[in-house]
Symmetry: C2
Subunit: 293 residues, 2 copies
């Protein structure tokens, strides 16, 4: 996926969103936005929108010397954890726990501060559960997971991670070994090791850092330890739009679970903004992938 | 009014809006947007948002060598002209034609392609006529116009100009001499002399150019001929947000008729976006103004 004309205002909007979370003089914020325009100007049009936003968030971090999302990440983890027992009961009581947990994990992807300014988790997730999945490769996921023995789970946002934990529990109950992947550094409200520990995911499965604060999963930016794990696995569950943007078309069996939150990504998929997807990576289910399942 | 943090994404959005109206390769458009980021970067934070957008639209004109809004201006003038006889009948039959025509002129201010991508004139204007005016200095306008003998009428957008023409007719029927002002060059869907002639406004009153393609009425950019007229008049009717941004607080009796279309302007006024205003310029009704009425 490449940068689109519509991405440019969104790049600036994201910087303003983040700055609005920081207690700082308005005039200074405006000078910071001006500084970020240079990074937007040097955006590589042949790379993903996520690639460009990586540089924007890095510049923000450098100029503000703060993480605008650290507090809100804690709040959303705590709020989602309060909902965890109730949703866990629903998953375990469901006729098909994998189906219910997968849906819940997609619904939880609504918690994204690169796109929205605030989210009522309970109401929004419940509403999302009622929505039709626009692209639903669930049967393929079920078959694939039934035959695979291990999977990498690329996490996305704080709060959402609690719903991912439920899906990971279900996958593990099916006998799969799961390696959950967090960001190596703070970026937007994406989870880092701190969040995984805060919600107790590390008690369920192995959690590793991808070694970078890049948006999505940009393999050119990831650390060697993660790359070794990534190369040795052929099955991936990928959460969120950023991971989709950076991994779509890769030669690997990836299942993308996310909500297409912007017009650009939705258009790329021939869908409407807000569409929920459980989408198999086209072309990624090659011979090499088959040997791994 | 000064540039706000929220203006920055809007500056880029406006450039993308305009480029979306041009038939040109996507990659070229993206390079043009990148070029415009420099102009946004050099925005003077002590001047109005309109001041910054002037440079953006000039750069767009320079780089695209086209006027993205010329066709749509014609379309909206023609559409509004078709509605003219019906609305004229309503104005003339109204118990207070000045009140009705003023409201209609504010309602017509919805036709703004710096903000919206398309407008259903008839439906939108009729809906706007039903809305409450958030700031309504109509009684002051009525008293002032009843005592004044001449007024400058700063026009705003194509299409909307037809509704302005109705208000100008009413003002003239009250014995006022009206000088209508158009832009000196194409910018967004603002009217130029061509539009005034197309809708026949020149048959009703004197129409002059302000000598510039700047957004709003930026006196530093206006031509000498217009400045002489502006200085010699003390009563002004100013249409639209751009004119408000650039003239608010001036030492002159100005009545601003417009819709606050963005959060920044609305917040500046302590209102909500979409609010309709007939607002007297605070502090502009000084001794000098009184001698003119």
């Amino acid at each position: 996926m490449k940068v689109d004309l519509e991405c440019f205002p969104c790049f600036v909007r994201q910087a303003v969103f983040a700055l609005n979370r920081i207690n700082m003089e308005e005039r200074v914020k405006m000078e910071i936005v001006k500084g970020i325009l240079d990074d937007i100007k040097s955006a590589d049009l042949d790379k993903s929108p996520a690639h460009a936003t990586t540089y924007i968030y890095r510049k923000l971090k450098e100029l503000t010397k703060t993480d605008p999302y650290s507090e809100i990440k804690k709040t959303y983890n705590e709020s989602a954890l309060k909902l965890y027992p109730g949703f866990r009961d629903m998953v375990m009581a469901a006729p098909e726990p994998l189906w219910y947990a997968a849906r819940l994990a997609i619904a939880g992807n609504i918690i994204d501060f690169g796109i929205y300014q605030s989210v009522d988790i309970n109401a929004t997730v419940k509403k999302a559960l009622e929505k039709t999945i626009a692209v639903d490769d669930y049967e393929l996921l079920k078959t694939h997971m039934g035959r695979a023995d291990r999977v990498i789970y690329l996490l996305d946002n704080a709060g959402e991670i609690v719903f991912d934990m439920l899906l990971i529990e279900v996958l593990m109950s099916m006998g799969l070994r799961v390696t959950a992947v967090v960001k190596g550094g703070a970026v937007i409200n994406d989870v880092t090791m701190e969040d995984a520990v805060a919600v107790g995911l590390d008690k369920h499965c192995m959690v590793v850092s991808n070694g970078t604060d890049a948006v999505g999963t940009d393999l050119d930016e990831c650390g060697e330890a993660f790359l070794n794990i990534y190369q040795s696995h052929d099955t991936v569950i990928s959460k969120g739009q950023g991971n989709f943007e950076t991994l779509v078309g890769m030669n690997k069996a990836i299942f993308f679970l996310f909500q297409a939150k912007c017009d650009v990504v939705a258009r790329h998929l021939g869908l409407y903004a807000g569409a929920m997807l459980l989408k198999q990576n086209i072309g990624g289910f090659n011979e090499r992938a088959k040997t791994d399942v």
